[in-house]
Subunit: 636 residues, 2 copies
């Protein structure tokens, strides 16, 4: 049976089930979806149950799209929309998505675009063919998101073809063979960095994460040359749990070495990954290192990315269904859950996760329809790796800032652009709003502003309280006037020259470069100022040295190295980590529903992985393993 | 650096070290050896230390051969030898080995070919160029050995080219990369049959054994389609521990699917493998099953086999040295010991082994220069898998036979052709010679005779006592006039019709076909006769049913199935197994020198593998593992 036979069979079944008068003009697999093209999309929309019942009968994710010949040219469609919609709606942008036949209409006042009982929308649909979706103009414009949408529009024909190829591969008929499931460890085992796993069955090979250890002298990339992943063209899918470089940094390189398949990620992970990958090659270039890939390969990855929201159960291979669940680590971070075969086996890769509700995110999900094996991170898996609760950390940072500002000092907080910055921002906004700390400007320097913009683009990925504030109370903490973007060297100069109290969040998080260095040089001499560490400082970084108490530091000033004396206060506030601490890791397993059979620990120093595995085995009587890189474990 | 650069450099070094007046006419890698061609082989021979010192300096296995242009055409050489050697020497055959530039001269009286102080040999050398080696004509001619030698002679040019290709690959310059060693289980884990392992480093992939489970309905072959061994052309070498089909039965098939490299085996393993593989396809054809390969592929395997004797330390890849050690299981059976890197790591695959001296073989070696990981068989690894000592088994079988003969009965012993047959033969010969049992004929039916002939071809693979008997006392037990080959259906008919007492050894060992069935049909009715089982009877075989006490058996007689009543005595004599029993397995590990770090158990039912691993861990505090098939274990 060929894939065309499969499609013909499906077409016959669908035709058989459609009410009289509704016809389909085309049927095609596109990525994970079975797409029905019709010249009567309205008829389908009016019979909502048809699609649901077809999906159930055919066991496929079905979408109905208007026949492409019914779609107006984009420019014409924009003109038409502008004619229909009242001018005061504040139309700000349009994204035509040929993947879906949808046009996303951004407007400052969405209600005016929708019209009374949706009358304006229906009017639009009638004239343009595209299915309109209206969203509020994002409050902070993200250049990344804009660029990505723009790019995807220019490659729409390519992408259509790619999705068709992928779709036909996903739904290929399979020959029954042996039954086995294996996990091969390619990186990130008994170490942090270069996370990568291969999940394989007789039919399918799936790569989960493909990270880089940016700090490593050698062995910074996963073992991608081993036979298990050779040739890379034999891989069916790449699944990315979240956008940090130790999980996605090497993805674009895959396309250099022959990978041609899809990348599955949540929408925020797609955008944040592109942001961080671009930054990775820029930093490498600036430091005179040769980056492993160029921006063309990042675009190649984007072209082949299929975004899935939390909870979307998606066929990604003939015998594998993927579902993402919130992991609470950063925006869009996910636990990747794989259902293999028809009820045969379930395995979940946690990626990095936080099993505690934070200001930004809900706690990681540990409730699955079924799960037999869990591959989990162990960053803080050691017996004594306890962190203060988030609430305590919040109180502590407020206290330190309050005291600093009270004595006329400035606060400098080095952070990574993605994750901790936004967490700290929310805490600061709340403290300022409530008057706990003075209403001083909070300067955001480095990529923090752009990362925050991406957060505001995807409010549905934030926790329920935050969504409620944003959507229902019209109170978006990211839009607080306290936050000031530092978007030019001139602006930074001005801030540095200003003697008034302020708070600065600046990258890099471990002070090995980035704008934070300029602030340290200016603020470092004054004992009224405070440097607050909120994240892990790795051995060998300047941040770690300062944390250890060094107060005379070699600094590059105008090309020369000078010894700089540090007088400012230095303090560390633990508890803002996006990782679960030891207690949370144990609780996560304990409260998992259903109870899994086996836990495989990774993503932690060797002793953390072993310690966590051994404790889980002893306490919960689950089979555990802490593999090295390059091992293969048979799950079934 | 190319391989030609490597050779040029070696040539310069060698030229530099040679005494004046000795020149080399060619230098080439051939298989594992560095071959120096010279027109003055005598000069090298007279300076024995040159080669030793070169080998030491260059860290290569060096052999010196006469320049091919000095070698007389084989037919002319034979004429010349016949002219030189006195007629009464009884020249019986000649094997010209172009691999080595040697001619093996078989003669009934070797002394006459050698001449006084080697004078005749020297005379021969002078005239033919080939280096003559004289051996005594084997006492029983093996058709297998004869055919193989004949075949290898016809493909000598091919083989020369193959060895050159292999040699250049083995000695290829390596690029330093990651350092890791992995073992992937492809078959024979938590089961018996289809044994196969992959040993891999960043540079090299070696397949150890490639067996077939002839009894399996499905899953009878190792997992050869997984990426770790794809494409098969990427495998550097195949190493065979011994000739039983569950270790070598699939080897010829490798050449159908793209393998082009060498097979390493001891000389008896090469010959016995060919014998058993041919029988395997014959039996399959007879039973109307489709054999997985034909005899052409067996020849292909022979063409690419490089034989190594026990103790030969041999480069088989740029970073791997292989040494075979006696494993005491069957003729030529070996423990494959791999030394990886320069002192980096050592791993030994025991194959099947007997840690007890038997009538035929010395006990398995467990003394290695170094060994960190041992992958060992567990056939009798269960807590209660105790076998009587060999000596007790010998006494028991003698007793049973004595009683049977005393009451005028016949003895029928079903056996496999290779291994147990010869062991029982030696016991019987000794008992007859010493008068413990009557001097009755011992009929050998099936492949037993041919397998025995191969045993007599390689007396140096038998234990010291047996070698001593054969070489120094001129007493070869296999030549006892008691043994009678049943080489035709007519002869079998005659034996079956003869009422006088006798002993019959016949295949197959589990009575699922073969000539043993004919004897059972004739001898089965008479209660004076005895059926003695000396080997394992698998579930589902006729042997097992009889062992369980069934005495009415459905039998095919002249194409019809009839119920046959069994009256003869049935007894089982344990202790002749070629496998170590539980006690011997434990002792083998306990007394291993040096003490290994890790034991991996395989080749046994799941509970046997687990039980043995757990006992070794508890008793000797060694790390143990019992992997499933399709797992990969990282050794370093």
């Amino acid at each position: 049976m060929t894939i065309d036979d499969v499609l013909n069979e499906l077409r016959a079944k669908i035709a058989d089930k459609l009410p009289k008068g509704i016809t389909i003009s085309g049927l095609e697999f596109e990525g994970p979806e079975l797409v029905i093209y019709t010249t009567e999309p309205r008829a389908f929309a009016d019979n909502g149950d048809i699609i649901r019942s077809l999906a159930k009968d055919l066991r496929k994710r079905i979408v109905v799209r208007p026949d492409p010949k019914m779609l107006l040219d984009a420019e014409q469609a924009i003109d038409k929309i502008k004619q229909i919609v009242p001018a005061e709606s504040g139309l700000s942008d349009f994204y035509f998505d040929p993947d879906t036949g949808e046009v996303i209409i951004e407007a400052e006042k969405p209600g005016l675009v929708i019209g009374r009982h949706g009358s304006t929308l229906r009017e639009i649909t009638k004239h343009i063919g595209w299915t309109p979706k209206v969203v509020r103009t994002p409050p902070i414009e993200s250049k990344t998101v804009k660029d990505i949408r723009q790019y995807l529009r220019t490659v729409k024909d390519d992408r259509k073809q790619i999705l068709k190829t992928i779709g036909r591969k996903i739904h290929r008929p399979v020959s029954t063979k042996d039954q086995w499931i294996r996990v091969t460890t390619l990186g990130g085992c008994k170490e942090v960095g270069r996370s990568s796993f291969l999940l394989s069955t007789p039919e399918t090979r799936i790569l989960i994460d493909c990270g880089v250890n940016t700090g490593a002298e050698s062995n910074g990339t996963p073992y991608l040359y081993v036979p298990e992943v050779s040739p890379l063209s034999s891989i069916d899918a790449v699944v990315i749990t979240h956008a940090h470089l130790d999980h996605c940094g090497i993805v674009p390189l895959l396309f250099k070495y022959g990978y041609e398949g899809p990348i599955y990620a949540t929408p925020p992970t797609r955008d944040l990954s592109a942001l961080l990958q671009l930054d990775y090659i820029e930093v490498a270039n600036r430091e005179g290192k040769r980056p492993p890939y160029d921006s063309a390969l990042i675009r190649e990855a984007l072209k082949r990315t299929i975004t899935l929201n939390y909870g979307d159960v998606t066929d990604i291979a003939p015998d594998v269904r993927l579902t993402f669940y919130n992991s609470g680590h950063i925006l869009g971070s996910a636990i990747a859950h794989f259902h293999i075969g028809e009820g045969l086996y379930n395995v979940a890769f946690t990626g990095d996760f936080k099993y505690e509700k934070s200001k930004l995110f809900d706690a990681a999900v540990n409730n699955f329809p079924r799960v037999e094996t869990v591959i989990m991170e162990s960053t803080y898996g050691g017996m004594h790796d306890m962190q203060p609760a988030r609430r305590e950390a919040e109180i502590e940072i407020q206290q330190v800032i309050k005291q600093t500002l009270a004595r006329g000092g400035k606060v400098l907080i080095p952070t990574f652009a993605v994750g901790r910055s936004q967490e700290v921002m929310i805490v600061l906004e709340e403290a300022i709003r409530r008057g706990i700390i003075d209403n001083v400007p909070v300067y955001l320097d480095g990529m923090i502003w752009e990362a925050t913009a991406i957060h505001t683009t995807y409010p549905e990925y934030l926790n329920v309280e935050l969504q409620d504030m944003i959507f229902h109370k019209g109170q978006n903490p990211f839009l607080s006037p306290s936050f000031v973007q530092v978007d030019s060297p001139q602006k930074r100069e001005k801030i540095l020259a200003d003697p008034s109290p302020c708070i600065v969040l600046a990258t890099s998080g471990m002070m090995n470069g980035g704008p934070v260095m300029e602030y340290l040089k200016t603020y470092g001499h004054d004992r009224r100022n405070t440097l607050i560490f909120v994240g892990y400082q790795a051995e060998g970084t300047l941040g770690r040295r300062i944390q250890k108490g060094w107060n005379e530091l070699p600094m590059s000033v105008g090309g020369k190295t000078e010894i700089m004396k540090i007088n400012l206060q230095v303090t560390t506030v633990d508890g803002f980590s996006g990782h679960s601490d030891r207690r949370q890791l144990m609780e996560y397993v304990k409260r998992m529903d259903p109870r899994p059979e086996r836990i495989i620990t990774n993503h932690g120093d060797e002793n953390k992985c072993l310690d966590l595995a051994s404790s889980i085995y002893k306490k919960y009587k689950l089979e555990t393993k802490s593999p090295m890189n390059l091992e293969t474990i048979r799950l079934i």
